[in-house]
Symmetry: C2
Subunit: 385 residues, 2 copies
């Protein structure tokens, strides 16, 4: 096991009706800005519940944070926060609203160009507004970690940052709020959480038995519950298991003390930035191809994954790995998430441009061994057509 520092201070309030505790989680006398996305929270009643819970609190609103939240949109919120002297941010929505709100929280105190927050991956953040969330889409884990991914529309640039100052104070996770999610968002969330887990698990063994078993437990749960969430959208137990899995997939716990990959995310980000594909869909395209291309380097963990997660025990080692990769692809497809570029009307002609973007960002040595060079990335993209 590698050395690690783990800090998971976000207070989790999980379960039906937990919004009743919302007011007591926000310092009294706060001027609160509620941030949200396309407005589904206004249609499905969640925003009404927030207002009821916060009766008497001074509230402003900022809506319209898009999937893959953009710098351009968020800077409007920064102006609003300054104008209205907001001192607490409440994100009501999914990972994009969360991520965008983290950026707002930090950018408010930024004296130079706030895009520098992304350029420096958050290391220059010295202060941020406190924030909490009412989560409506389990997927990114952003509700209890300190990372965010922001896109600059003007340059089609997608970058990540992390800062302990941007760790949400609390997260309200009510599985009932996810009943009305469109199937596509439910599926995307399950795939996203699954790949987050894989990025921290499917590398090479460092004898971290607990982390391995926790990761396998999340993968098994998502495999069992994901398809059920599509078929029985109002099954509370299923929604609860998916929601809790997604949070734990990226709160630092399973990644503590183990090597991490994240190349699937890096290659996927470029597909989103260039072609506007849903984040999770890019992961479903890249991951099976990456697994196959790195089957030698990931040999031991792929065998463990095949056996413990998919119960694949017969055939020679290579055949078992092939079966596990096929099972992964089938799981994504069963969730209604296609796994080939061609399924999204992409013929691969943009691959040189995708590689140029990776190179421009210095992403020329990715993965747990930093051996996913541009040449390997090309092969991964090409095999994913």
């Amino acid at each position: 096991m590698n050395n690690f520092m783990l800090h998971t201070p976000t207070r989790i309030l999980f379960g039906a009706g937990q919004i009743a505790h919302l007011a007591s989680e926000i310092p009294s006398g706060s001027k609160v800005l509620i941030t949200f996305g396309g407005g589904s929270v206004k249609k499905n009643g969640v925003m009404d519940l927030v207002y009821t819970a916060l009766k008497g609190v001074d509230i402003s609103e900022f809506g319209g944070i898009e999937p893959n939240p953009t710098y351009e949109t968020l800077m409007k919120a920064v102006a609003l926060v300054k104008a209205e002297k907001i001192d607490f941010l409440l994100a009501v929505g999914g990972g994009s609203v969360l991520d965008g709100t983290k950026f707002i929280a930090a950018a408010v105190f930024c004296n130079d160009d706030p895009w520098n927050i992304l350029q420096t991956h958050g290391t220059t953040i010295k202060r941020a507004l406190p924030m909490g969330s009412v989560l409506t889409l389990p997927a990114t884990g952003s509700e209890s970690n300190n990372g965010a991914v922001i896109t600059r529309h003007a340059t089609r640039d997608k970058q990540a940052f992390h800062s302990p100052h941007c760790q949400p104070v609390f997260a309200i996770l009510d599985p009932v709020y996810t009943y009305t999610l469109p199937a596509r968002q439910t599926a995307n969330g399950v795939v996203d959480a699954f790949v987050h887990t894989i990025e921290q698990y499917l590398t090479y063994p460092v004898d971290a038995k607990v982390q391995d078993r926790f990761a396998e437990g999340l993968l098994q749960t998502l495999i069992e519950e994901g398809p059920k969430a599509l078929k029985e959208p109002e099954n509370y137990a299923v929604r609860a298991n998916v929601m809790w899995s997604a949070t734990l997939a990226l709160n630092g716990l399973i990644g503590a003390g183990v090597p991490q990959d994240w190349a699937t995310h890096m290659l996927g980000h470029e597909l989103t930035a260039m072609h506007g594909l849903d984040h999770a869909r890019t992961l479903a395209i890249v991951l099976p191809s990456l697994m196959n291309n790195k089957r030698e380097q990931k040999h031991e963990k792929l065998l463990q994954y095949a056996f413990r997660v998919w119960n694949i025990a017969s055939g020679d080692e290579d055949a078992r790995i092939t079966q596990a990769i096929a099972a992964t692809r089938r799981f994504f497809e069963d969730m209604g998430v296609p796994t080939r570029m061609r399924d999204y009307q992409l013929d691969g002609s943009s691959i040189p441009a995708l590689l140029a973007k990776l190179e421009e960002k210095g992403l020329t040595h990715l993965g747990e061994h930093q051996d996913i060079t541009l040449e390997v990335s090309r092969k991964i993209y090409e095999d994913a057509r």
Copy 2:
């Protein structure tokens, strides 16, 4: 899954050499009291490392906190804290030192009789000194939770309390510090962590798939690594896996949203208070007998436990449960922890007195169904002779 609130704010610094970060975890200018136990930390070099890491810091010491820390001893530390105007407590040791230090932290601000902290189970705590720890014995999980168990020597009374004010700020977990543990303490720690996990797992199903799999992952890891820790005391990976399992067994994570039992602990506490047995040994005595006596109420989870943890798949349901209970007993015995009262020269003649103590404390309806009445407790004790 049941509703839950989960807050795990203790910062974990895990791995060899993490003590190098100790000074930066303590507010500068603090007057620090180092609390410790019987003095093994002075012999094995850990205290020297603490002093080296805290060079220049104003330090006092309070040693002699015993296993099952007593009110009488701890009140001496409270007097010292007041006299020396201490403002940070650093526990260097295992769970008893941690628990005792939590009591000191709260009792310092107690205007009435500090034993009331125990009588009210911590609910009256409004404030406590900040504290951190350098852990030397993985077992209780006290390093990252807000609970403690204190014994009053004069009355042989053993009571628990919890308070968010007593949550340690940080914990340094260096597996190397556990290399020199006596085999008995290593074994006790493994059994303690194992039973902590069981108390939160072996109840009845509430479709909490992640919590179940995480608990099973901890149990499997302890079963695999526990005996190795006895045979290869300086195997870093083994010690690391045991240490991390013990912390995660009782930081709130696996118990979030699921029913909990804790009757084994309640019955065990009385054995310790009356006969001075090691805490873990009392658990090893009580648990197999409790499992057998509650096999009907715990039927489903016992079958799941048999299959997933022990790989027991053959025989009828009752036979599988019997095998799983036998495997549990064998595991404790293999760890060098006997599982019958007679192994500790107890013939059961104290059972009426043990039951009287339970009754005196109102512990007349224990377990996840509160159906472990005094009559059931009697049966559990009797079958454990």
